[in-house]
């Protein structure tokens, strides 16, 4: 059972019980002899019931007021309807009550007008007069009876009292002493042993000399005349005689007395009677009012409930709750149709919402999938909108560009150039591609970064806009192919070197031998002048051939695969040993060794060659009075130890444009040399599983940083396999 139905049942039962109670109060007022004892309990019950009903009404009104203040849906309409119903009920009931009270008051007053008062008094007086005659006769008779008694003794009188009573027709006759002591009595009923006692006032009156006569009610309710007479012969006795009043006179007098008493009592109770009737009427009014108020609120709420539900439902739908279904009203009227239509509408909206939600979820999944794929790509992907503003970029793009491009969402692409001038070629080239009419484009862009040259292979695709007739955005895909290009170049140089070694070295020895034979054979035979020419020419040939041989040997060293003779090498000792060879020169050579106990597995011959090449390069770069510093230190990275050797000079440093290619063959800014020194260094370091790169120091001068693994894993095979990778690491 829901709360509202319980309310209705409770209020209904209360109203019915109160109606029954008020009806019984009305009956009790009319028949007070039978039902008078129930009057007060019923009154109490009615008051308590009305208080309960009032509380129920108050509770309902308070709820209505609370809803009204909270602007609950439908509360305003409920309040208006309730007030309207209440006023409609209150007006007629108040009018009826007002006039009922007036009619009641004037009606009760009309019972007691002066004429009726007078008539009642007259009737009582008449009864008294008629009884007075009877009383006087009986008093006279009693006095005569007592006077007729001649005996002086009380005993004799007592003996004759029965006879006297019978003679006089009295129902009771008793003889008292003046002190009030009973001397004798006689009663027409022999079973009655005691007389009706006179009260002390009567006795005192008689003893005082005035006989008493009065009317009293007998034991059976009939009127009797009581006569009390003092003995005149001073015998000290008082005679009391009770004479029954004739039945007709008694009945009539009694009726008059009863009517008079009733009238007088009612007259006395006039205000109480009015109060009682007004109270009963007020209770009925209160019941009517409370019941009407409760019914007004209940009916208004019941009428408004479906409308409130619709308003509530509409609000819920407005707030996005599309699953809202309203309870169907029982009646199949227009409101029922409205509720049914509302429910159908919300069902359709909910279905559409669910489909939309599924699509969105699917889209989100696809988006996440795409993002995961993009995040896993080593290729940089960047999306631009139609205006060339950055929309998104994957982590690989951030890494290749060298700044968090993803965080520059909404910014124009040119911001990359503004933040890093090295990116300007990229920005310009891409911008050019975007402006072109081609939907798809491809370009190789070379950037000169602080870490060296960077080659990007860039492709772009234009995206159609929503209408399909314009460009809605661009997708930029780019790869860092620097390492690939370098690897290709290294391979090409290796091939060149190998061929040079093979094709050029072979004819050099016959050339040299031929030149020497020419000199040996003809120098002595030719005239002096010619001999000088021959000597100079053959000397030049031999010298140049020696130079070419040295060059070809360098190429051969660079090109031919080497077999490392690995053995434990204490790196600081090796550096000391190498640098000792350069002591005594004009330049300053400093050692900052910080790896005294570190031993690596390396080929000491090749490692010495590396150090010689680097120190020579540094000395040449720093000039005649330059300063070269060789330092070592132990480091650890990703759980593996390494030794880092840095050779730095105070020369002009590397050409920024060439710094990325410093370890490539024939890349040099020196006027002499084969240009293979650093290339060989890189190759040997790579064979040892190490890395090498060149950089310019902040305070000026060039630096070559060499990093060799401390653990014995620089096997020749491994080094050869890792050569390609090591090249890339060393060049940057």
């Amino acid at each position: 059972m829901n709360g509202r139905r319980f309310d209705m049942l409770a209020a209904g039962m209360l109203v019915v019980l109160l109606l029954a109670a008020l009806h019984m109060i009305s009956a009790a007022v009319q028949r007070s002899e039978d039902l008078g004892q129930w009057f007060m309990p019923l009154l109490l019950f009615s008051v308590v019931g009305l208080v309960l009903l009032f509380a129920l009404v108050g509770w309902n009104l308070w709820q209505l007021l609370r809803d009204y203040r909270r602007r609950v849906a439908g509360s305003r309409l409920s309040a208006r309807l309730s007030v309207m119903f209440l006023v409609l009920a209150l007006l007629p009931v108040s009018v009826v009550y007002f006039y009922s009270i007036r009619f009641l008051s004037s009606g009760i007053d009309s019972w007691f007008d002066l004429q009726v008062d007078s008539a009642m008094e007259d009737a009582l007086t008449l009864s008294k007069l008629s009884l007075d005659l009877h009383k006087r006769e009986r008093l006279k008779l009693t006095e005569n009876l007592l006077a007729a008694i001649e005996d002086t003794s009380q005993t004799a009188i007592a003996l004759s009292i029965g006879e006297m009573r019978a003679t006089a027709g009295a129902s009771e006759m008793a003889l008292f002493s003046v002190q009030g002591k009973l001397l004798a009595m006689s009663h027409d009923n022999p079973e009655v042993m005691l007389p009706m006692p006179p009260d002390s006032g009567m006795v005192q009156q008689v003893v005082g000399g005035a006989d008493y006569v009065g009317v009293a009610s007998g034991p059976d309710g009939r009127l009797v005349v009581r006569c009390l007479v003092l003995d005149r012969q001073e015998r000290g006795i008082v005679l009391q005689a009770l004479y029954p009043v004739p039945e007709s006179l008694s009945d009539l007098s009694k009726n008059v007395q009863d009517a008079y008493e009733t009238y007088r009592t009612r007259a006395y109770m006039r205000s109480q009677i009015k109060f009682t009737f007004a109270l009963s009427l007020s209770l009925v009014l209160a019941l009517g009012l409370f019941a009407a108020a409760w019914a007004a609120v209940f009916t208004a709420r019941r009428l408004v409930q479906p409308i409130s539900d619709i308003a509530e439902g509409t609000r819920a739908v407005a707030e996005g709750d599309y699953d809202k279904q309203l309870p169907m009203p029982r009646s199949e009227d227009e409101i029922g149709f409205l509720v049914s239509s509302f429910n159908a509408m919300t069902r359709r909206i909910a279905r559409a919402r669910n489909a939309l939600e599924d699509s969105r979820r699917e889209l989100l999944n696809q988006h996440n999938y795409l993002e995961t794929v993009l995040a896993g790509l080593s290729t940089g992907v960047m999306a631009l909108d139609g205006n060339g503003n950055i929309r998104t970029a994957n982590p690989a793009a951030d890494q290749i560009i060298g700044m968090p491009v993803g965080e520059l969402e909404g910014q124009p692409l040119a911001i990359l150039g503004e933040r890093n001038a090295a990116l300007l070629p990229f920005v310009e080239r891409v911008d050019e591609g975007l402006r072109s009419a081609a939907h798809v484009g491809r370009a190789e862009i070379t950037l000169y970064r602080g870490s060296g040259r960077q080659v990007l292979l860039c492709r772009h695709s234009a995206l159609d806009d929503d209408d399909g007739d314009g460009v809605g955005g661009h997708v930029l895909v780019f790869d860092d192919v620097t390492e690939l290009v370098k690897a290709q170049r290294d391979a090409a140089w290796g091939e060149v070197a190998r061929r040079l070694a093979h094709e050029i070295k072979n004819p050099l020895t016959p050339i040299q031998l031929s030149a020497e034979r020419l000199r040996h054979k003809y120098l002595g035979k030719l005239p002096v002048e010619d001999g000088k020419v021959l000597d100079r020419a053959t000397h030049t040939i031999v010298q140049q051939v020696e130079a070419m041989k040295a060059m070809v040997n360098d190429f051969s060293d660079y090109a031919k695969p080497t077999r490392l003779q690995l053995e434990p090498v204490q790196i600081d000792a090796l550096l000391n040993e190498v640098l000792a060879l350069y002591e005594g020169g004009t330049q300053m050579l400093a050692l900052q060794l910080d790896a005294p106990d570190l031993t690596i597995e390396a080929d000491p011959v090749r490692l010495r060659q590396v150090m010689h090449n680097l120190i020579k390069n540094a000395l040449e770069a720093s000039g005649e009075h330059g300063c070269v510093v060789v330092s070592s230190r132990v480091g650890e990275e990703e759980d593996s130890g390494f030794v880092e050797i840095v050779v730095s000079d105070n020369g002009p440093g590397f050409d920024p444009e060439l710094i990325g290619q410093a370890f490539e063959p024939y890349v040099t800014n020196k006027t002499k040399g084969t240009g293979l020194g650093l290339a060989i260094v890189k190759r040997i370091v790579a064979e040892h599983g190490g890395l090498v790169h060149a950089e310019n120091a902040d305070q000026g001068g060039g630096r070559v940083v060499l990093r060799l693994p401390a653990l014995a894993r620089a096997r020749a095979g491994i080094a050869a396999a890792a050569a390609g990778r090591a090249h890339g690491g060393g060049g940057r």
């Binding site: 004892q37 007998g218 008079y260 007259a267």
Partner: protein, 185 residues
């Protein structure tokens, strides 16, 4: 109970602080005595003092019903245990305009007495002489009993229109404080 005990009981009764009055009813004297038939009897003199409101109602013919309630129960009785004795003496006092007398009507025996004055009627109303309460044989001689007497004007016996007002107005609360005494028979 021997004569000594009887005398002792009366002496104790007289020694009780009487004159207990709530509104208009005073116990002047109360005595419980043992009759020759071994019955406990009640004697009492109760003074009634009617206030003007009640006296006016009486003069205007409103019958006043007085109830004397005599109760006797074991001191250690359980709540649900009924009283050993319960007497209700109901007497109606009414003014008779025809005779000009005040009439007392005993509702138990339909006995009627008439009095010329209100005071005489009230004196008789308040006099209880030798009212048998209980036979001693009916009591447990080892137990202690509580006797409670109170007197009141019965509002429920008033004419119906007067009852609501009588319940509300203090003038109509004519009642004694209960008089209690512990008795070991």
């Amino acid at each position: 109970m021997n004569g000594f005990l009887r005398k002792l009981m009366i002496v104790m009764l007289l020694a009780m602080p009487l004159g207990v009055a709530a509104d208009g009813v005073t116990f002047d004297r109360i005595a419980l005595t043992l009759s020759d038939e071994d019955r406990i009897l009640l004697d009492a003199d109760i003074a009634f003092d009617l206030n003007d409101t009640v006296a006016e109602a009486l003069e205007n013919g409103v019958p006043l019903t007085f109830e004397t309630h005599v109760q006797m129960r074991r001191v250690k009785a359980w709540v649900w245990e009924s009283d050993v004795v319960e007497h209700r003496l109901r007497t109606v006092l009414q003014y008779r305009p025809l005779s000009g007398l005040y009439e007392l009507r005993n509702l138990q025996g339909d006995e009627r007495l008439s009095f010329a004055t209100r005071d005489a009627a009230l004196r008789t109303l308040g006099r209880i002489v030798g009212m048998p309460v209980v036979a001693r044989a009916e009591l447990d001689l080892d137990a202690e009993y509580l006797v409670r007497i109170n007197v009141r004007l019965d509002i429920e016996a008033l004419p119906l229109p007067m009852r609501p007002v009588a319940y509300i107005r203090r003038d109509w609360k004519i009642a004694s404080d209960p008089w209690e005494w512990r008795l070991r028979p």
